[in-house]
């Protein structure tokens, strides 16, 4: 039973939930042609021949993110204090995408217009001081500028890491790590009545991120257990500190998957590559969000679950649009939507090629 203070938010979330597509609905959209998609989604930009493919794709992405953040603003309106801060902390990822775009732009000395075209329009509570940051003529100067504002913690850490290691990986990893640490910190601070639901939700998200980072850092980049552990964020869900300490010391995909706790172990059993792990762990995370949306007693947790699912859906829509714009094969689009096992797309591609030959 949702508390009276959040009855409005709860009703809002329930209303918004109706617009979410289920897996079947998204699969149907994935089969539409570009004109049908444009009509169904009300995205006329898709068919504008005067724009390049890149600008059309960019405009669609902007529109979808704008939609998501507009809904975020609606949902934070009745919230105050820590609950509002948590939802904003989640939405801040888009500010960090902007920050990374700026950093990459400065690293590669792109023109201001090129960088500006790739930035998301953000609502005031999570907006970066773009005008000031644009004035910077290098990464160090940009991070120094950012240190004077609300992102100073992230900026200071990122600048120190960049100053020592001078490589974009460490810089972006530091930014991502701080984002998730901040979320975990917010989630841990909650008591009853929202604490459990929020920790479960954020925990599922952090479990997903930790597992994928762990596998990539250890198996793809060859980082040591110590270095890998340092970049991970102890989760409020299944992969807490002790579990991560144990997992990073293991060698090989099978060993890691075999040591995971349930229900992750069951879901991921038999995965033979990281792409398949990603597909399944994403599904697990989405299932947790759907369960929270349907059954959680906490309206803020339901709101966050809705936003997570909506984001996944909008990313799916973007993948469909992008696929259609680029004229990609249906199986590639299905793979991007993670509707089929990761190996299938390559097998389908091979079949396609052999049929063409």
């Amino acid at each position: 039973m949702v508390d009276a203070a959040h009855a409005y938010l709860d009703a809002r979330v329930s209303m918004m939930t109706r617009q979410l597509h289920d897996r079947h609905g998204l699969a149907q959209l994935a089969e539409l042609t570009l004109p049908d998609l444009a009509q169904r989604l009300g995205l006329d930009t898709l068919l504008d021949p005067s724009q390049s493919l890149r600008s059309r794709s960019r405009a669609i992405e902007q529109a979808l993110v704008h939609q998501l953040l507009a809904e975020l603003q609606v949902l934070i309106r009745p919230l105050h204090g820590a609950e509002r801060e948590l939802i904003l902390a989640w939405g801040r990822k888009y500010a960090l995408y902007n920050l990374k775009t700026l950093l990459r732009g400065k690293l590669h000395a792109f023109e201001a217009e090129t960088i500006a075209a790739q930035l998301f329009e953000l609502p005031a509570p999570i907006r970066l001081p773009i005008r000031t940051l644009f004035r910077a003529e290098g990464v160090d100067e940009l991070l120094r500028q950012l240190e004077t504002g609300p992102y100073r913690q992230i900026a200071r850490q990122a600048r120190e890491v960049y100053a020592r290691q001078r490589e974009p990986f460490a810089l972006e990893a530091a930014i991502d790590q701080h984002y998730y640490l901040d979320l975990a910190h917010h989630a841990r601070a909650f008591g009853a009545p929202h604490g459990n639901a929020l920790r479960r939700l954020i925990g599922a998200m952090l479990d997903r991120v930790d597992l994928l980072w762990l596998l990539r850092f250890r198996l793809c980049y060859g980082l040591s257990p110590s270095a890998t552990f340092y970049w991970l964020v102890p989760s409020t869900g299944l992969l807490g500190r002790e579990r991560l300490l144990h997992l990073v010391a293991l060698e090989g995909l099978e060993a890691v998957l075999g040591t995971l706790p349930e229900p992750l172990a069951g879901r991921l059993a038999g995965s033979d590559d990281i792409a398949e792990v990603q597909r399944r762990v994403n599904a697990h995370s989405a299932a947790t969000a759907r369960a929270s949306l349907a059954y959680a007693d906490s309206a803020p947790a339901r709101a966050l679950a809705y936003l997570m699912l909506r984001e996944t859906e909008l990313l799916g829509l973007f993948a469909i649009v992008q696929g259609r714009l680029l004229g990609l094969a249906q199986h590639t689009i299905d793979a991007a939507l993670e509707h089929v096992p990761s190996g299938c797309t390559w097998r389908a591609a091979v079949v396609d090629r052999s049929e063409t030959d």
Binding site: E137, E160, V161
Partner: protein
């Protein structure tokens, strides 16, 4: 005064090389509002000022950063107009880039010295801690055959993850001191099993080594002295660097001020960039100019440009009406009222500028609702005394105060006392019914005027059907006036006057018919919508007219509040009497004055603007050179 300024559309073809001079000439007139639409000719496809803008924007950013760093106040006006050619702008941008490189190196040097000073302070704290311990510090200083030892500090937020990460490599992290957001640690691990990634992990965690000097065991005072000397040296170097930066800034001051002039003079062409198109040496730009300024513009171009140019002028086409900017009232007294109108929206081109009407009706209503010679004088005096702080809003306070004073004379009220001066007319409380009747008549007049303006505005922009049948159009006005006539008959004779009632009925039927024709869908749905819309029309006009009763109600309320204050004061002694009168009047001025202002704004926005004013226009914003 209510009629909008007529505008012309101008199209100018000039040589691309003349663009800087053209922009300056256009800015000098203050008549040219750029039209960013692309020309019909597809050949005019390139953006000739793109590089100019790029250099300007970057140079502007660099100059602003330099001014901030050097604490340099940049003038915001142009001293002497001159043409800024693209080459000189590019050279300026480059020069400012070099200057910023030097300046930012200085600034970074200052920050590094600050970091070094912090590190020394941490070091001093750490050594003070070690000096008090009874241990052999040599052990911590040197890596042994078996142990790899690191002494230093790490940000507190990274400690737990660093501890876990190093634990995996069989290292121990021992915390021995906390200072602010830094944690001082000793990290110890097996020498033979030190992982290759250890430096990487320590760097990622922000670990800073604080080595223990050899002499700490034997000569701690000397070590302390060394650190103090180092600290003093940092302070000395910092002061020297600051002086160097200040001297460097002083050397470049004149050039930086000149750079500001250059950028101000380049700004008009940058502002024109979105409206510029070119094909080879020919550039095209278009814009909107007040009809009275066209000749001045042409003269200015003739005087400035050395090469031929082509200027064509035409009236705005009907399909362009929404694109034409509106010239707003620039009268100094009306400026604050124009700002309040702007809060609602900008009149569309062709619509009546409501500012003068708004000012007059606002002052009449405010004065009649808050009529008092003394309190009005306080408001006017306060606005005058605070004119610097109120900026362009001070005439608003002054006029409101004067209006209140004028009505105070009419009502014979001075600080709520109605016996000090004779009323020119009467006190509101003498005949409340007459006040309410007058308020109703004022309301009828106000709504009639608003509807008339609505009709005029629609006719002016060619929306004839809306002018006749639309909301607050001619048929609505006929209905309203007939309804008022019928109402007057009912009040005076106890029965509806037949002719007005018949006209009102016919007008209402016409509105219902128009609404019926606009609806689509099943008959029942259309009938329901038409019924509700018609009912809303009747209820709306009646309630909107009654809404003006508040004008009288607040006038009466003002007197009643004053009576209450005087009654309270009368119950106290001399001092109490005086204090109560002063505080009571202050209370009335601040609280009731504020409420009356809100109520008048509400009447203006809701009963006035919403009827005749779309607010969908955009303001005339010409290119200008910032001058004194």
């Amino acid at each position: 005064m209510l009629a909008p300024t007529a505008m012309k559309h101008v199209r100018l073809l000039v040589l691309t090389e003349d663009l800087p001079a053209t922009s300056l000439a256009l800015a000098a007139t203050g008549h040219f509002h750029p039209d960013p639409r692309a020309p019909a000719e597809a050949r005019l496809g390139t953006a000739p000022a793109h590089h100019y803008r790029h250099h300007h924007d970057r140079a502007r950013q660099r100059l602003d950063k330099l001014a901030e760093l050097l604490d340099l106040a940049l003038a915001q006006h142009v001293d002497r107009p001159r043409v800024i050619e693209p080459e000189s702008l590019a050279a300026l941008d480059h020069w400012l880039g070099e200057l910023w490189q030097t300046a930012s190196t200085h600034a970074e040097g200052l920050r590094l010295l600050d970091d070094e000073a912090r590190l020394v302070a941490e070091h001093q704290a750490a050594l003070a801690n070690f000096a008090a311990l009874d241990i052999d510090l040599a052990v911590l200083r040197n890596n042994t055959r078996f142990l790899d030892i690191h002494v230093g500090m790490v940000p507190r937020e990274n400690l737990a993850r660093l501890g876990g990460a190093l634990g995996l490599a069989h290292y121990l992290v021992h915390v021995y001191m906390q200072r602010g957001d830094q944690t001082h640690v000793v990290i110890v691990g097996p020498s033979d099993a030190a992982p290759e990634s250890l430096p990487q992990v320590l760097a990622a965690a922000g670990f800073q080594a604080l080595p223990i000097p050899i002499e700490l065991d034997r000569e701690p005072a000397r070590v302390r002295q060394q650190l103090e000397t180092r600290s003093a040296d940092i302070a000395h170097r910092r002061a020297a660097l600051e002086r160097e930066l200040a001297d460097w800034g002083a050397d470049h001051r004149a050039q930086l001020l000149a750079a500001q002039q250059t950028l101000l003079l380049a700004a008009p062409l940058v502002a024109l960039d979105p409206a510029l198109r070119a094909s080879g040496p020919l550039a095209h730009l278009a814009g909107w100019v007040p009809a009275g300024g066209v000749d001045d513009l042409a003269d200015q171009l003739r005087q400035t440009l050395s090469h031929p140019f082509d200027l064509s002028v035409r009236d705005p086409r009907p399909d362009e009406r929404r694109l034409v900017p509106t010239v707003l009232t620039r009268n100094r007294l009306l400026a604050p009222f124009a700002t309040l109108v702007g809060q609602y929206g900008i009149p569309e081109y062709g619509e009546v500028d409501p500012t003068p009407l708004f000012a007059v009706t606002f002052l009449l209503m405010f004065g009649s609702m808050f009529g008092d010679l003394g309190q009005g004088a306080v408001i006017a005096l306060a606005a005058w005394l605070l004119r610097r702080r109120l900026g362009r809003f001070w005439p608003f306070g002054l006029l409101a105060g004067l209006s209140s004073m004028a009505f105070g004379v009419v009502f014979g009220s001075v600080f709520g006392n109605e016996h000090l001066i004779p009323a020119l007319w009467m006190s509101p409380l003498t005949d409340p019914l007459r006040m309410l009747t007058l308020a109703l008549l004022w309301g009828v007049g106000f709504i009639t005027l608003a509807c008339t303006l609505a009709i005029y505005n629609r006719v002016a922009v060619g929306r004839w059907r809306d002018a006749v049948l639309g909301h607050h159009g001619a048929v609505n006005l006929v209905f309203y006036l007939a309804l008022v006539g019928a109402g007057v008959g009912l009040a005076e004779n106890g029965a509806l006057a037949p002719w007005p009632a018949t006209i009102a009925g016919l007008a209402l039927a016409t509105l219902a018919w128009a609404s019926w024709r606009e609806q689509q869908g099943p008959v029942i749905e259309r009938a329901l919508v038409v019924f509700i819309a018609t009912l809303e029309t009747v209820i709306g006009y009646v309630s909107n007219t009654l809404s003006f009763l508040r004008v009288a109600a607040f006038g009466l309320n003002h007197v009643a509040l004053a009576i209450a204050v005087y009654t309270l004061a009368g119950m106290l002694g001399e001092v109490g009497h005086l204090i109560t009168l002063v505080l009571g009047n202050l209370f009335i001025i601040v609280l009731e004055g504020g409420i009356v202002m809100i109520q008048v704004m509400r009447l203006q926005y809701y009963e006035g603007f919403s009827r005749y004013f779309s607010g969908d226009g955009h303001a005339f914003a010409p290119l200008r050179l910032p001058r004194d």
